[in-house]
Structures are given as C-alpha cells and as structure tokens.
C-alpha cells in the first residue's frame, strides 16, 4: 500500500480490511519474529559457477564426450535464457497491472524489449521438439542461414 509516514490513516474501510487480514497475519508474524528468527542459524549457500566448455560446433563429430558436455551446457544455457525471458515478461506484466488501462502506451518500452527477447529465444531454442539438443539447434541455425542466404533476412535480429 501507500507509504504514509506521519498522518494516521483514518480510512475506516482500509482499517477494517487491515483488521481482517491481521486476524490471520498477526499471530503468524509474531510467532516468526519472536520464536523462529532468533533461533535460526546464519550460514551461506551459493549459486554454482559452471565453467564454459567447447560448444557443439567446436567438437569433432565422433567425439561423444565433447557432445555430451556441449549438450549439458546447452541445456543450462536454455534454462538460464528461459529465466531471463521470464523476468522480462514479469516486468512488463507488473507494469501492465499498475498502469491499466493505459498500459499500451506507458509500458511500451518494456513490451518491445520483451518481444525482441522472445523472438531471439525462439530463433535459438524454438521448434526443436521434445528431444531438442545442441546438435539439433546447431543444424537449425545452419538451415536458417542457408534459407536466409537464398531468400534474404528473416528478421531484424538475424541481419
């Protein structure tokens, strides 16, 4: 809600809604702040940093180990790119929720960024099927480039 510092909030309806919410929230918050938080230990966890390994285009075609590692890296990269796309989409959706009904104009830049990111994601990872791996993505790129050489560019992102 709006951050009101000094003037007390004398809106009866808001006070009533807050009271209803607090019938459940206040005991839970009290329990967490007095019992749970003081007793919890503080210790770290980390996000794993994976080393970069040769990609599929740098592997010999009969090198199974290189293929396996390139594929694992491809799957990790796809997961990371999917998350990035998700974050961009969330940003646009939050803006849209806040700015309804003029979201079309107010959130335009976020929408454009999301759309170009989505197009880039689809160019790289889209339409590979359920068993899509690094090799299929590489072949997709090759076919796209051949098609573009014959028929001209597909989009702004591939010029």
């Amino acid at each position: 809600m709006v951050q009101d510092g000094n003037p007390p909030d004398d809106n009866v309806f808001r006070a009533f809604c807050n009271a209803l919410y607090n019938t459940v929230d206040a005991p839970v918050t009290w329990f967490r702040e007095t019992v749970v938080e003081p007793n919890q230990k503080k210790y770290p966890w980390y996000h794993q940093n994976y080393r970069r390994v040769p990609t599929i285009d740098q592997c010999y075609d009969d090198d199974v180990v290189c293929d396996f590692e390139a594929n694992a890296q491809f799957k990790r990269d796809r997961a990371v790119d999917s998350e990035i796309l998700s974050i961009l989409r969330q940003r646009y959706e939050d803006c849209m929720m806040y700015e309804q009904p003029d979201h079309a104009t107010k959130c335009r830049s976020l929408w454009d960024k999301y759309k170009s990111a989505e197009e880039a994601w689809f160019i790289k990872y889209g339409d590979l099927g359920a068993y899509g791996d690094a090799r299929k993505a590489y072949m997709k790129q090759k076919h796209r480039m051949v098609w573009e050489r014959r028929n001209g560019p597909l989009s702004d992102l591939t010029k």
Binding site: W45, Y46, Q48, F68, A72
Partner: protein, 190 residues
C-alpha cells in the same frame, strides 16, 4: 420403502409392530432404532442399529498409523526450519570452491545431498568416462567389420580363409572317432 427379504420378514414385521419410534423399555433400558445422540444424561438408550464397530476401528487404526509417521516427521521438519533454518544466498568468496552440498538452500536438502546422494560432478565425470570407453569399443568393432568387408571384397588376404581352431577339442573328437571305429568298424551306409 424398505423391501423385505423372506428371511428378514418376520423380524421386519416385529419391528413395525413394536413401532419403535416410540421408545420400548426393557429392564429400564430403552431400545430404539431412531438415530441416537451420544448424550450422557438422557434416558439410557440402546440403539438397535447395525454395528459401526468396523468403521470406528478403521478410523482408529488410520489415525494411529498416520500419526506414527506424521508426528516424528513433523517434529523433524519443525526443528530443521526453526532451529537451523534455510541458508542465506551469498556470492562465492575468492579462492574458495564450495562443497557440492553447499549449493542447496534447505537444511534437509543439504543433508540428503551430502550424505545420501553422490557428488554430481563425480557422477558426471564417471558417466563421461563410461561414454568414452563405449565409444572406443564402437570404433574397434566398426574397424574390424570394415577390415573383414575389405578382405571379402578384394579376396587378397589369406586370413579371410583362416578359421581359428583349438587342438584340444580336435584331439577329443579324434579319440571318440577312433573308439567308435574300433567298436563298429567301417560298415556303414552312405
């Protein structure tokens, strides 16, 4: 309407005759088929209804065995969440490689990753070694097939006609053949 079977008919008729919605007292205990509430200080009623003992026993056992599992598990989960708590996400310090269980947040997940599961990097590298070994076998077999195909094609290598043999079995067969010849002779029809 209730349909009476032949066997229960007399019983059913007796029930109707005794009109059990009005209480029927025998030795100061009221028998009734009406639904009774289990109040303590009403009239002492005995409900003439089919036994619900199996249902009650089932519920008892269900609750008991569920609690045998839920209470220790609940206590463990409560302890882990309140007295140990989940970890804080921190950037990796310089020059330190975290252990493989330190990549998980919840203490129970960390416990499982540390004491039950294998190191994922170890599994990854073992699998890659296995893949490499199988790949070498594939290459060897493909090479052998190729060589035999070429020998068959060009007919220029003696080894194509060479059948490997083990003399031990030849000796055994010869001994058997000699014994048969000594017994039977060479009188046989072709």
């Amino acid at each position: 309407m209730v349909s009476w079977s032949a066997l229960g008919r007399s019983f059913g008729i007796n029930l109707v005759k005794n009109s059990l919605k009005s209480p029927n007292k025998i030795q100061n205990v009221t028998f009734t088929t009406a639904k009774t509430l289990k109040g303590s200080h009403g009239e002492r009623t005995m409900a003439l209804q089919p036994s619900r003992w199996q249902w009650h026993k089932f519920k008892d056992m269900l609750h008991f065995y569920m609690m045998v599992g839920l209470i220790p598990a609940g206590a463990l989960i409560f302890y882990c969440n309140v007295f140990i708590g989940p970890a804080q996400l921190t950037p990796i310090p310089e020059g330190y490689t975290p252990k493989y269980w330190e990549y998980h947040r919840h203490p129970i997940t960390r416990f499982i990753a540390r004491y039950i599961h294998n190191n994922p990097q170890q599994d990854y590298e073992k699998f890659m070694h296995f893949l490499d070994e199988e790949q070498q076998r594939i290459k060897l077999r493909a090479l052998e097939k190729e060589i035999i195909k070429k020998m068959a094609e060009r007919q220029d290598y003696q080894a194509y006609y060479y059948k490997p043999m083990v003399n031990k079995y030849l000796r055994m067969n010869k001994k058997t053949g000699d014994e048969l010849y000594n017994r039977i002779g060479d009188d046989y029809k072709d």
